[in-house]
Symmetry: C2
Subunit: 428 residues, 2 copies
Amino acid sequence: MVPRVLSAEVPAHVGERITIAGWVHRRRELKSVTFLVVRDRAGLAQVVLPAGPAPAEETVVRVQGLVVANDQAPGGAELTEAELTQLSGPACPPPFDLYRPTVNATLPTILDHAPTTLRHPLLRAGFEVAAASAAGFRTAMTAAGCTEIFTPKIVESATEGGANVFRLDYFGRHAYLAQSPQFYKQAMVGVFERVFEVGPVFRAEPHDTGRHLAQYASLDAELGFITDHFDVMPYCRDAVAGMADMVRERAEEAMRTLAATLPKVPAEIPHLHFTDAMAMISAATGEDVTGEADLAPAHERWLSDWAVREHGSELLFVTGYPLDSKPFYTHPDPNRPRYSNGFDLLFRGTEIVTGGQRLHRHEDYLAALAARGLDPAPFAGYLQVFRHGMPPHGGFAMGLERWTAQLTGAANVRQVTLFPRDLHRLSP
Amino acid sequence: MVPRVLSAEVPAHVGERITIAGWVHRRRELKSVTFLVVRDRAGLAQVVLPAGPAPAEETVVRVQGLVVANDQAPGGAELTEAELTQLSGPACPPPFDLYRPTVNATLPTILDHAPTTLRHPLLRAGFEVAAASAAGFRTAMTAAGCTEIFTPKIVESATEGGANVFRLDYFGRHAYLAQSPQFYKQAMVGVFERVFEVGPVFRAEPHDTGRHLAQYASLDAELGFITDHFDVMPYCRDAVAGMADMVRERAEEAMRTLAATLPKVPAEIPHLHFTDAMAMISAATGEDVTGEADLAPAHERWLSDWAVREHGSELLFVTGYPLDSKPFYTHPDPNRPRYSNGFDLLFRGTEIVTGGQRLHRHEDYLAALAARGLDPAPFAGYLQVFRHGMPPHGGFAMGLERWTAQLTGAANVRQVTLFPRDLHRLSP
């Protein structure tokens, strides 16, 4: 590789002749001199050239030059006596000026030209936060004794049920894209006791909202030998804390760029039963919601505000959602069988995690399917696992993009998804 | 969670009453006493029960008991005065006895019943090696300054070309499953300079071999601002070294179980040009292979043996494969344009990595497509990236399952794939 100094290190080389390389971030052709700002993965560096035409913005260049101190330049130094080599281009103009501090483009324009528009520091930053978050999740789950698994994304039947499943031609047979690794992570509790996976899941979401995607990165964990969901929640807490820690460690600058702040993750995240939450909301708003089966978005926001007020926590567990609103594999609360041993984690007004205890006895699965009027035949492979001894277990799943959006204040989850897929969007 | 001692820690509790939990690995009902061996994620523990029937193998149990020293028991201690609780079951017998040291089952039986059969220590071990390898890859690539990316697995057109692509109904439109993240990782070099991804890729492989799968975990990296492929190879070397290091750190016991050994990864892996390799093979075997476009499996084995003999290395780079045998995005060798700036990494007789320098100029892509008689229209999104300034770049990709198979000596890649997908297999 050409010996190359990254922009951030240029000021340390005052008096030396060095080589930098990157994209022309901005050119300014003045009467007596041309300034070139070169962008690389570490930041910006200024180059002084003799007056004359300079390569267009986004052209890739290598510049050899003498580093001199200059308080006006980024980092307090610039390259003079420069020799410039064009490595590609000349480049076409991007859909908006990437050198301006703000992004002057609509979301569709940004997404249509993502390979170019994501070069803008404000747009790039979200993905640095996402990358650090995924690493933090893995670190926390590995520390908890989980084994990483890689499960099939092409499956014979839809585990989560429902219509939002993509159908595939699999060597002349029908198959589906996995809506979640639910079946596989549960099965692998029988092998490793504790597992996690970071991988894509697919939902043929007919809803065109700022929260739903046809593909997202799912952070999944599953743990055996629990008593109930209250044994799972501390691991979910540790996952979120680990993610926040890794963002602090690896993406602090990106968070600053986005003017985003990390939550303080309490040692124990406060929790509230669904029925108590509904009673509180009813009392506070005067609207009786105690008969509802799920939290509306406005309720999630109200509860998040309440948790900040009462507990100083931006995170809140809501437990015991009605069993009817949960998938068939959900374990009921033994004392109140209409409610589940499930939980959601709310963060800044939105649910970011769903988890809970699962059924683990073969006969309980048969009963649960029958109670919902579901044919057990398509679940034969799933059910088979529970004939061979499965411990009480539970787990949780979190969408990386939704977490990143909440953390960075992105209004639409597409802003923090590299190349989003939805009802209308299949490219780039 | 029920306070629980893992099997490996039982010997440290002699004289105490503790609780363990796990699967009945083996029961032996003698005349005066029943022995139960309980398996958990840390190993085995022996329990002594009064004579009488005990739960069947694979039943999940919790056992409270007094730990006493016994040289005959695993770890030198066992639980006596035991109270046993059955957490699920009784379990059905697994398709073969999991407690026997060897696996008495065919591969199809193992795969049909994977959630149960993978509980056997010999079968489980490979996945522990795979998990550690993936973690090692990420650690090495992060240390190299790469940003992790998560790219779409549903795409508009087949990047790698060819017929081995799965077709999908995407909200009433045709779409495909990604054969590789090639386009996206290249595009993201324009944003982050250096990126990596660990994710599934999909190949509708019509070949029913021990090396091919319809889905595998691809370890991908791509780096900008290189001179040529020789700047990429050291990062590929570091990836493999990082994987070996992490396997040593996290999966040493699994490697011992499999009687597998780690390669010594030289500071610089030896390399050989394709034409020199072919000349050597021709000279050594008497068969003229200098006109061949690719290495046959026998040639890969011959070259691996040669590298061990000549360089004491189980790893060997072969560079400069004929351009015709490589995808259209491959950069030619400027001095010998019939050959590529590409490389493969051979490990123990098999290619485990493919990599190289890519084209980075828009006009070069148009010329390369024209030279192969390919219509540029389906590649419009891909080509667009190169109009906006892309640096010289290159990268590599490695199949996690193939690496794990080579490392652990598995004859078939399906043995180290949790739930393999192939021409015939879509479940479990």
